[in-house]
């Protein structure tokens, strides 16, 4: 089951430059929340702060509080522990090219020491089914390499890989921006189903996509969160003029 996320006074820097200013936000459990905003507004930085990936950048600094469910992300747990409870899917599908499909999906488990083969088989199949890829690859999970699939399939593979470790939260950073409409549609359909078990935060440039998949939407601008509300409200009658200007295409 998914958990809620609580963010309080989050600030983040890359060296001297401040990327996020005082973000306060509550993400509802078992819902999809979309983050929109022009390029460079901080939305990617924000989700990377949720699973402490921001720290992997040079000279990165974070201040503030992030709670994933009951867990304080920055206090009392190591980044690697935290990341095992949060799955991440990136903009460009990044399956491990030297590994088979099976090994890719199992990577999160095997690389962390889990080796019960029978269980792994089950988990791999279950994850691939959850990401709607099982039917297409079930005969070649051991034979084909992760990199030999099409773009949309690769991204679904990455989703399966993220799901295999059974996280509670799934972070998606523009997962469909490199995909064609059909693959995009499949993944959006997937997000809809995954909501029941996971809490999903999705960063997207595509406002129509945010409108299609997310119940809540947050609008970011220049490192601040300008407005956060139910998706219908944001797209039919937003409260802040800047939000409206952005979604009607008057800037950005």
């Amino acid at each position: 089951m998914g958990v809620g996320i609580q963010v309080e006074n989050l600030n983040a820097w890359y060296g001297k430059s401040q990327a996020l200013h005082d973000i306060n936000l509550t993400v509802e459990a078992n819902h999809a929340t979309a983050l929109i905003g022009p390029s460079g507004c901080g939305k990617s930085t924000f989700i990377r702060c949720l699973n402490r990936m921001h720290e992997t950048s040079p000279e990165a600094r974070v201040q503030g509080k992030v709670k994933i469910g009951e867990l304080d992300a920055y206090n009392g747990t190591s980044p690697t522990q935290l990341r095992r409870r949060i799955g991440m899917v990136f903009q460009k599908a990044n399956p491990f090219p030297t590994m088979s499909i099976y090994d890719n999906v199992a990577a999160g488990l095997k690389l962390n020491g889990y080796s019960d083969k029978k269980h792994l088989d089950e988990i791999v199949e279950r994850s691939l089914q959850s990401s709607a890829l099982w039917e297409e690859v079930k005969d070649s999970v051991h034979k084909k390499s992760g990199a030999s699939l099409s773009g949309g399939q690769q991204q679904r593979l990455c989703i399966a890989r993220a799901l295999a470790v059974e996280p509670e939260v799934l972070l998606m950073d523009e997962p469909c921006s490199a995909l064609d409409p059909i693959s995009t549609g499949k993944i959006e359909e997937l997000i809809f189903q995954l909501k029941e078990q996971y809490t999903i935060v999705i960063v997207t440039h595509n406002m129509q996509q945010a409108a299609r998949v997310a119940e809540f939407t947050g609008f970011f601008l220049l490192g601040r969160m300008i407005e956060y509300d139910k998706t219908e409200k944001i797209f039919t009658n937003p409260s802040d003029k800047r939000t409206e200007d952005y979604i009607t295409g008057r800037f950005g």
Partner: protein
């Protein structure tokens, strides 16, 4: 940015205003025809109807095209939806003008009689409502639209009064029944025009404020906040 979309919106606005002008003119002509017993004017109203129908189709097509091709959001989406509704209302106004003209044509064939109803007053009020509703659209001012909503009660009362007076007249003097009926129907047509003007005003409020005030929805307290007027500055 999005200049083609901007142009589309501007074109939609212009077309609707022109249609509004045609509808307003039709009502005024029809009422004048009644007061002057002028058959020529009636003819002009009947002929003008074609133009109004063509206009309605054009506006709907343009709105549909913009919706499909431009993925409008928020205020732009509300604008286009409002335009399609106002479009329908204006076309009905045109129809009512035609109805009035047909009544007048029937009336002119009968002897003129003195009737206890001030059609001129009702028609002036109704014309004012239509004008103000269209103004509120041009200016994108919800206050003007609000004023139209209030005027509707006045016109309703006028129509009710007319009904009572004319029924009384028909009872007292059965020989003028047909003229009285014509007058009654004209009064009713005018009241319908007023209703359409009210609808237009409600659509303007929906567009400008994002609040659905139809059928007094604002009072229901359904959690829909009334955001402060952002001044959807409409010379976009």
């Amino acid at each position: 940015m999005r200049s083609r979309f901007q142009q589309g919106l501007d074109e939609l606005r212009q077309k609707l205003l022109r249609m509004g002008g045609l509808a307003e003119q039709a009502v005024d002509r029809a009422c004048q025809a009644y007061l002057d017993r002028d058959l020529n004017r009636c003819q002009m109203v009947l002929e003008g109807e074609t133009q109004i129908n063509i206009s309605e189709r054009e506006i709907d097509e343009l709105a549909f095209d913009l919706l499909a091709m431009q993925q409008p959001m928020a205020v732009d989406l509300r604008f286009i939806l409002a335009v399609t509704k106002i479009n329908a209302d204006l076309e009905r106004v045109g129809d009512q003008a035609v109805n009035i003209a047909e009544r007048v044509m029937d009336m002119v064939s009968l002897p003129a009689v003195e009737l206890p109803v001030d059609i001129a007053r009702i028609s002036a009020a109704v014309s004012a409502m239509v004008r103000r509703a269209l103004e509120s659209f041009i200016e994108a001012k919800a206050e003007l639209a609000q004023a139209v909503l209030e005027m509707d009660n006045v016109v309703d009362r006028m129509r009710d009064e007319a009904f009572i007076m004319l029924v009384k007249a028909m009872n007292e003097r059965p020989d003028i029944t047909r003229q009285a009926l014509d007058a009654l129907l004209v009064a009713r047509n005018l009241e319908r025009v007023a209703d359409h003007a009210t609808n237009i005003a409600e659509d303007v409020i929906f567009w400008v404020r994002g609040a659905d005030v139809r059928h007094n929805a604002a009072q229901e307290g359904n959690g829909q906040q009334q955001p402060t007027q952002r001044g959807a500055t409409e010379t976009r």
